[in-house]
Symmetry: C2
Subunit: 284 residues, 2 copies
């Protein structure tokens, strides 16, 4: 391996780290600077990516396209390279149904679809990140990452597209869903004027939970805006499986409110959850 | 102390253990066998409780009434002793709004209201259970439990009734809400055919979560039916505070389905969650 031309859409924090893995393995990794920020350009350069002029040029030169983008953008990104006839890997946090929508779009344009889902932090070091892959040509994609910080794992049971996305949805349904629930629990105690009592009870019978809620607040303030659509994708996945979608619609609301936080601290995030609630009660 | 006549409504698993604490402290603890099961009678006898003929007799003899019952029954239990003129303690898992409803009922009958909330397992041993109490006369109630397995903790900030109930709601919003969310996450992976992949990923990056999901299933099968109303009380508490109620409406649905489990095992509970989902899709 190490001689494949790969188009990366797009080098955000996660995407750039994925691109760096591929570039480090000797592949030529293309990206399109047009319309992207200076921060993105700096990340792409640091990751060893090669700029090309347009999505059309990228689609023409690449043998493989890897989509790593916010979940709400996954379908549009697929449409933007319509006509690409190589191997299209969607590695986004989307529902199996959205994955099948992306598959239909790229297959209609002549590409082969491989479903993916990334679990863990951006793969800038070894052992922290897995790329789940499903679909007939998943093994080819897995080989592109051999020896890199991103461990490819094949999910070999997928008649329709979507098994790798399902793994991601089920995994994040707990990690990000429980973080939102924990923030809601603490916000509730605060709204009722008993936060200190709750925290003292936690210290006795739920050790670690107070710290965990503070970490959840920091993550929500920094990244919650990206998780709103992911929670909505999980809610849709739950509903499609006949399970309650309420956990993750509520989690989406928590992360939506977290965007209004004035800072990464627990106080600031809880204030944003409460303040936005007050806005709503005035409206409603 | 040790010389107070207390009416207990009713000696279920938690109630009997609370009654045993009070009887062990030397109080006379009354209960009403009429219409209760043989199992309840056996529990009451083992706890050292004294049977009386009717709720009217209990209300007449008792100086204090302690209500420990399923949350959906809390308001009815208060109505059943209307006219009681002593100290009424509601120790149930109800929202602050429901607590205020109970307070209004008993106060209209001439009683004083103390709000309570129990956190922990039935207090059959020391150090595992707290009774949170709020309201003007909460200290009197706390003294009844001095030296017992049930540690009374005063929540001293309650202009209206409900602070102790709020502590219970916020605490259980995490413990029982997160257990339901974890079951939903695993049920989702199973429905999508990737449960083994999720469990393998958990083993690497979320150690202990697979065991925790199995314990959650056992609890849901055994006690989930009692938690449906508690989850609905928490959802109402969230909504009243302007926070999303979806987490706990979804948790109520998970526990509602858990009742249909054929046994306490993880397999049986997940099958019940899935089977009931299929019922719903046929209906809808």
């Amino acid at each position: 391996m190490g001689d494949v031309t790969i188009g990366l859409l797009h080098p955000g924090e996660m995407g750039a780290a994925v691109g760096q893995c591929l570039a480090g393995a000797g592949h030529r990794v293309l990206w399109v600077p047009e319309g992207r920020s200076a921060a993105t350009a700096a990340r792409a350069e640091a990751a060893g990516l090669t700029a090309v002029d347009s999505l059309a040029a990228l689609a023409q030169q690449a043998e493989v396209i890897v989509s790593v983008c916010p979940p709400h953008a996954a379908v549009d990104v697929a449409r933007q390279v319509a006509g690409f006839a190589g191997l299209y890997v969607d590695a986004n946090a989307i529902s199996p149904a959205t994955a099948r929508e992306v598959a239909a779009i790229v297959e209609a344009g002549g590409a082969a679809y491989v479903d993916g889902g990334i679990i863990g932090s951006p793969p800038v070091g070894p052992g922290h990140t897995r790329l789940y892959l499903s679909g007939t040509r998943a093994p080819e994609v897995g080989r592109l990452f051999e020896g890199t910080n991103l461990e490819a794992r094949l999910v070999d049971r997928d008649p329709a597209a979507g098994a790798a996305s399902a793994v991601k949805m089920a995994y994040a349904s707990w990690t990000k869903g429980s973080a939102a629930l924990l923030l809601a629990a603490r916000a509730l105690a605060r709204a009722e004027g008993v936060e200190d009592v709750l925290v003292a009870e936690w210290a006795m019978s739920q050790p670690g939970l107070a710290d965990r809620s503070a970490r959840a607040a920091g993550s929500a303030a920094a990244k919650g805006w990206r998780w709103v659509a992911e929670m909505e994708e999980i809610a849709a996945t739950m509903a499609a499986a006949g399970l309650p979608d309420g956990f993750h619609l509520a989690a989406a609301e928590i992360y939506r409110r977290s965007r209004h936080s004035c800072g990464p601290g627990l106080e600031e995030v809880l204030a944003a959850l409460e303040c936005h609630a007050q806005d709503r009660s005035v409206e409603g």
